[in-house]
């Protein structure tokens, strides 16, 4: 039962107020895109034991989608940030690097 702070309303929301949305920072591929790109967009999901970026919706709160960086093994949360972000913010990346020196980056 995670607690994630919603970056929009500032509520430290427990998991029962949230809805999960899978992996974050996916790029959409539309009509005419190569099969490999579409396959990656649709089906290829990371499932790391360690640092992971996820989509969450504050479903029972302000209704906004946000992104979270956390460790799937220890459940440590490195930070949450707005969904209108195309890649992990520098401060969160720096925090992860400090705590997980072996981390290879989000791509």
């Amino acid at each position: 039962m995670l607690i994630l702070e919603c970056p929009y309303c500032g509520v430290k929301a427990e998991e029962t107020e949230l809805a999960p949305g899978g992996e974050a920072h996916l790029k959409r591929f539309g009509p005419g895109s190569p099969d490999e790109d579409f396959e990656a967009y649709m089906f290829a999901r990371k499932n790391p034991k360690g640092v992971h970026f996820e989509r969450w919706r504050h479903a029972y709160g302000c209704g906004k989608w946000f992104l979270a960086a956390r460790c799937t093994a220890t459940l440590e949360v490195f930070g949450t940030y707005p969904a209108q972000t195309t890649e992990p913010p520098a401060d969160i990346v720096a925090k992860i690097m400090a705590k997980r020196p072996d981390w290879k980056g989000y791509k």
Partner: protein
């Protein structure tokens, strides 16, 4: 015999006698007793029968670890099996019965298993019930089911109520012994928001029983002062009778508060489940004494040494007149001393250690108690009660040196920290060889959201057992530096003893119980090891060691030590089994909380619900909505009612509560562009005042929802969704707007519940509305697939000319608060036109007759619109829409795809639901090939024959063919492929 002493008992109130019954026998105890203490005070040592061998069993422990003394508590709506007498507070009028015997506790026929014990070893079930194969289902399983399970299942509805509550704190301290109190004092003074909980009804834990002195005062007085000091702190919340059941991610803890177990029927909730979020958890959960494994260690009268001391000091109950103490440590001497000082006999203390030094043995000797070093119990004699013990050397094979008469045995095999809350969420353990127990490894704690230690242990739970160490450890755990000083005797080191005597023969080992509740013996674990079970987790499951309701609180360490010995492996290498919540069983009522009866789940009701109920509606669930399926009249079956409703709608006029239909407002300069992405067809060019049917697909291209879209004004559209789809589609829209196209100027609002929407359907529909009076609803003023705002019978309405039945049809929306009044007005206006309400099943039949698809019937997440002949609703011009790329995948264009057709039997009968069409040959898995299936099938009262829709390979290109379909029972029928529109193919009726 076991008796109440004339004096003493720190927890009982002798002025408040409490009457209770056990197996119908009227007994008396005192306020403050546990049920176990009261039973012992009445010489009721035999309290149950064991699970497998039905051996007589007595009370072993004094707390949550008790494996034997489980009873059926209460009667009727308050009946509950498997209640531990050691944690049940006595109250006046308590009734209980013993479990697991037939016909009676004293004479139990199941004890025959005991004599056959040699033939019921570990893994007996797996070895025995394999052949012949059919026998499992018809012979073995019914017999095993008959004898399996502890206690009886409650038959009546629970008479009590339960609730849950959320709590938040900086620090949750579980355990109200001196460690927990000291941690709470430390953190409380530091200003932290503290919750302190204790599973029993008393603060202080073991220290007052053990005669500890703290800061020069008796522990009892120190505890009293500590509790007073804590009660005076506003930042500290204290709860008795509150058991922390489990710890979970990010400081989530479930705790079961037994609010009214001891005061049944007083109007309070029986249990309250606290759902706590703690910044940090201090587990001050103490330690549990281990039994010793000697032959006959399960005979009633054999108890844990500390438990016997509890009964003596707390409740003035002496479990025996002559008690032999057997131990591998100094602590058990406290029991011998307490018994002696209470005037009871202690014929001998058998100490497995070769040399016995230390203050406590010296004091025992000084009191004249015989102390035998290096000695052990060869065997306890007795049946339903201990009669004597045979003594032997611990070092030997069990040759009897002497037999000593006694009626009780106090045993102590050392202490194991209660590490459950530490381990539940990932804390790791170290093996402490000196104390022969697993203790938390502070270097590997469970982690919190910020990577810090989520749980720390305090006191005995950390593996420190002496009072002074306990207080110092607890102070440090709470971040303090000045601990109270406790004084007590110096204790010599314990010595691990896993089997007594060390070289016991198989005859003895077959009578050494490890797990009392599941009847697992030393010989069973050794057999498992010989048969190749080297993993402790496998051995647990094979032997059932530690799998009973006590979850091995007494047996796990002893069992894994025996396993390690059998495997010649070190204990830490064998490891422990996993600790899982709950710590002790939590009643289902508490887990359900308020969610039972009417509020089991949130059933959604339309504003017209009460009318449906009053008119005998038979309801069906649609998501969480309850919608009328049909309105049976007296003497009508549901099927007859549906047929009547359909026929009446086709010939006169029907009334449908369509309020559940999803309604989402989409507005903004980019709303048209957005809807063009969302729907497969074009919505941006829809004229104001017009309606258009649209399809929504997932990114894979599969059909997800459908509905009619209305253009409200220049930048506003209203999207209707399916009844079950409103929340999902609204969330889908928001997902795209927030996460992909966040620069588009579009706002959405889910206004589903703002409106009651009522469909007036059938040839007389217009007449009804005209009777109601108001806005012009003529064909010219309000043509098919248009909408208009207006006034109707004095109501503000929005009327849509849309049809899901093929009939002349209006869907009229009014504010929900006026929905019931508007429905009533329609019912009145429609009376003279033969109007009847119809339900969802009628709606289904009407739409199936017209060949209209239903999301969830014709779709299942693998169907694209093209499969349903809905290619006309897919824009070829648009560069992009959600699902377009998915639909470009070649396999979705295959001519072999299953596509929508109509189906009908040759004889007019109804094709059964679930029928499939087999095809020649088999697939790669050897299964029969198929070429289609039925998706919707009904009796059409309009056409007076069965009609169906289905997905069939090749689709409409095969119209006219007859294929074979298989019913669920395997029989076959001949089915003709036809056009899916069965009624009014030209659509003349709806456009009038």
């Amino acid at each position: 015999m076991s008796t109440r002493l004339a004096k003493g008992g720190r927890l009982i109130d002798r002025a408040a006698p409490q009457d209770f019954t056990f197996n119908g026998k009227r007994l008396r105890g005192f306020k403050g007793d546990t049920l176990a203490a009261a039973l012992l005070a009445n010489d009721q040592m035999l309290v149950g029968r064991s699970f497998k061998y039905h051996r007589p069993r007595g009370i072993v422990a004094s707390g949550a670890e008790e494996p034997n003394a489980l009873v059926n508590m209460g009667e009727g709506g308050r009946f509950e099996p498997n209640q531990r007498t050691t944690t049940t507070e006595l109250f006046d009028g308590l009734t209980c019965t013993s479990q697991n015997h037939f016909p009676s506790l004293e004479f139990d026929i199941g004890v025959l298993n005991n004599y056959a014990a040699r033939f019921l070893p570990a893994g007996f079930y797996y070895k025995t019930f394999i052949h012949p194969r059919a026998a499992w289902k018809h012979v073995f399983e019914p017999i095993i089911r008959q004898s399996a399970g502890l206690g009886k299942v409650p038959k009546d509805r629970d008479a009590d109520r339960y609730e849950q509550a959320y709590a938040f704190c900086d620090l949750l301290i579980t355990g109200g012994g001196i460690a927990g109190l000291q941690a709470a004092l430390t953190a409380g003074k530091a200003g932290k928001r503290v919750w302190l909980m204790e599973q029993t009804a008393h603060w202080g834990g073991r220290a007052p029983v053990d005669g500890v002195e703290i800061d020069g005062t008796p522990a009892e007085a120190w505890v009293k002062n500590a509790v007073q000091a804590l009660e005076a702190m506003e930042n500290v919340t204290m709860r008795l009778r509150c058991m922390a059941a489990g710890s979970y991610d990010h400081g989530y803890v479930l705790a079961d508060e037994k609010v009214a177990d001891h005061t049944p029927g007083d109007g309070r909730p029986r249990h309250r489940l606290w759902r706590i979020r703690a910044g940090q958890i201090i587990a001050a959960t103490g330690a549990i004494e281990r039994p010793l494994s000697f032959a006959g260690n399960d005979i009633p009268g054999v108890m844990l040494a500390a438990a016997m001391r509890d009964y003596l000091v707390n409740w003035a109950v002496a479990p025996g007149d002559r008690t032999v103490v057997v131990t591998n440590n100094d602590d058990a001497y406290r029991t011998a001393i307490a018994l002696k000082e209470a005037g009871l006999e202690v014929p001998v203390i058998l100490d497995a250690r070769a040399t016995v030094t230390g203050d406590l043995p010296a004091k025992a000797r000084a009191l004249g108690i015989r102390v035998e070093a290096g000695k052990a119990i060869a065997k306890v004699k007795g049946g339903k009660r201990v009669t004597s013990v045979a003594i032997c050397a611990q070092a030997g094979q069990g040759a009897v040196l002497e037999e000593i008469a006694c009626d009780a045995v106090a045993m102590s095999g050392g202490w194991s920290p209660v590490v459950h809350l530490w381990s539940h969420c990932g804390g790791k353990l170290n093996w402490d060889a000196a104390q022969a127990h697993f203790a938390p490894d502070p270097a590997r704690p469970p982690l919190n959201h910020d990577g810090s230690a989520l749980v720390v242990t305090a006191g005995a739970a950390s593996g420190v057992l002496l009072a002074g160490d306990v207080l110092a450890n607890a102070t440090a755990a709470a971040g303090g530096d000045v601990a109270p000083v406790a004084s007590g005797p110096v204790e010599a080191a314990m010595e691990p003893v896993w089997v007594m005597p060390q070289g016991a023969t198989i005859d003895l080992r077959m009578k050494m119980w490890l797990d009392y509740q599941n009847d697992v013996k030393v010989s069973d674990v050794q057999l498992a090891a010989r048969e190749g079970y080297s993993s402790v987790e496998h051995t647990k499951r094979y032997t059932t060691l530690g799998m009973a309701t006590d979850q091995g609180k007494l047996s796990n360490i002893n069992g894994l030590a025996v396993l390690a010995d059998s495997l010649s492996s070190p204990i830490p290498q064998v490891g422990t089994t996993t600790f899982r919540p709950p710590y002790t069983p939590v009643t289902f009522g508490a887990l359900a909380g308020e969610a039972r009866g009417d509020i089991f789940q949130p059933l959604r009701q339309t504003p017209i619900h009460a009318w449906h109920e009053a008119h005998n509606a038979y309801f069906e669930p649609v998501g969480l909505w309850r919608r009328p399926y049909c309105y049976p009249r007296p003497g009508e079956t549901h099927e007859q009612a549906v047929h009547r409703e359909v026929v009446n709608t086709r010939t006169n006029v029907g009334l449908l509560d369509a309020s559940t239909l999803g309604k989402i407002i989409v507005k903004g300069p980019d709303a048209g562009k957005f809807l063009d992405m969302l729907y497969t067809n074009v919505m941006s060019n829809l004229g104001i005042g017009k309606c258009r049917y649209g399809l929504m697909c997932s990114e894979q291209g599969f059909l997800s929802d459908d509905g009619v879209v209305a253009r409200i004004d220049e930048d506003t559209w209203l999207c209707h969704t399916t009844s079950g789809g409103a929340d999902r589609i609204h969330a889908w829209m928001e997902d795209w707007l927030q996460c992909e196209w966040w620069d588009w100027q579009v706002y959405t609002a889910n206004v589903t519940e703002q409106f009651a929407q009522i469909a007036v359907v059938g040839p007389n529909a217009r007449k009804v509305l005209e009777k109601l009076g108001g806005m012009d609803v003529s064909k010219e003023a309000l043509p098919f697939m248009q909408w208009a705002d207006g006034e109707m019978g004095g109501f503000r309405v929005r009327a849509y000319r849309i049809s899901f039945s093929g009939e002349l049809s209006y869907e009229i929306a009014v504010p929900a608060s006026e929905g019931r009044a508007f429905w009533d007005a329609l019912v009145t206006a429609g009376a003279e036109f033969g109007m009847m309400p119809y339900g969802t099943e009628g709606l289904h039949v009407l739409r199936a007759e017209k060949g209209f698809i239903m999301i969830g019937d014709e779709t299942d997440g693998t169907v694209i619109p093209q499969d349903l002949n809905l290619g006309w609703a897919i824009s070829k011009k648009k560069a992009d829409y959600l699902g377009k790329r998915g639909q470009e995948r070649p396999f979705l264009a295959s001519p072999d795809r299953w596509k929508l057709v109509g189906l009908e039997t040759l004889d007019g009968s109804v094709i059964p639901d679930g029928s499939i069409a087999p095809a020649p040959g088999t697939n790669a898995n050897g299964q029969r090939n198929t070429q289609g299936r039925v998706t919707s099938t009904y009796y059409s009262p309009t056409l007076k024959r069965g009609i169906a829709m289905g997905l069939v390979k090749g689709g409409l290109s095969r119209v006219g063919e007859t294929i074979e379909m298989t019913r669920l029972d395997g029989s076959t029928l001949q089915v003709k492929i036809v056009d899916p529109v069965f009624y009014d193919k030209e659509g003349e009726k709806q456009n009038v």
